[in-house]
Symmetry: C3
């Protein structure tokens, strides 16, 4: 069983959910009414944080689970935890200024690509 | 095997697919040409319905399956069916007016959070 | 085990990742600064290519895996490969002009719907 990977999945979802709530709080603070998705830089940055996290979900979650299945459950959970940390750093940076979004982005991208590359290597090894 | 959860997954995807089709129908009705994503309130609401459903997919689907595996297949399918109903109520409300999007949103959020919390509790119990 | 389906999943993710990189390259080329998501037609088309690929991920990936589990691993991988080809054709067309996005879209939609319908049929057969 993959308890640790399941735990990291649920924590990643919880953080993503927090970015969604942050968008709706930012909506009330900045007065940008639904369905508008622009109109105030603070709201637009909040929305981009959520969107970017969403955009990486279909990379992160399948790579995390294929890594867990083909390589290591504990390894997947550890790298997945780094991904969440990168996402938190990205959130803190980008919510202050667009120019501060780089380091967190790099951490989470490295973690996600490591999961993807590890899974790909292991799958190809099984096929050849 | 998780036949009921698989069925609910495929029905949830089908409803989400319907919200995508509704956006492209709204594009022709309102004359908002691709790649523009704004320009007419009816189109913008249609797009937000699809987007919000998309935004909840990475919360709903992993929580649904972890609940099915760790707690109960029939329970996951039942709560998943409530999520779909909430999404339909949200669609009907929001497609009429932005102010009517609340009740459906609350139903689907409650269902998704119930799946998430149930799965988290069960995973943590296995780990301790 | 589902090695071929896992491989197609990782390749689909890799192509999606490429569409994300293409957006950020398009950002620098067209001078649309984050968090803005509009302002130049080339950037907007690049963004829509990524978004549309993202929008189909929660249809494609669950349908792919349920098809693999309920119908055929090799079949899922083969139809999944067609989906990736459709996505590449869509990318090439849409990056030139919005009017050229039709054929690739149709290929990937047909592949995704085939996976969905096959999985649904097989799940329903098990339940009745």
């Amino acid at each position: 069983m993959y308890h640790l990977t399941a735990l990291v999945t649920l924590l990643a979802i919880a953080f993503y959910f927090f970015t969604c709530i942050y968008v709706s709080r930012s909506r009330s603070k900045t007065g940008v009414k639904a369905p508008a998705m622009s109109g105030h830089p603070d709201f637009e940055r909040a929305f981009r944080i959520q969107m970017n996290t969403l955009e990486w979900m279909p990379i992160f979650l399948p790579a995390l689970w294929l890594f867990a299945i083909y390589v290591s459950n504990a390894g997947a959970a550890a790298i997945g935890a780094v991904w969440i940390v990168g996402r938190i750093v990205y959130f803190i940076g980008y919510s202050q200024a667009a120019a501060k979004r780089g380091p967190g982005f790099a951490i989470q991208a490295t973690a996600a690509i490591a999961l993807w590359a590890g899974a790909l290597g292991a799958v190809v090894l099984r096929l050849v």
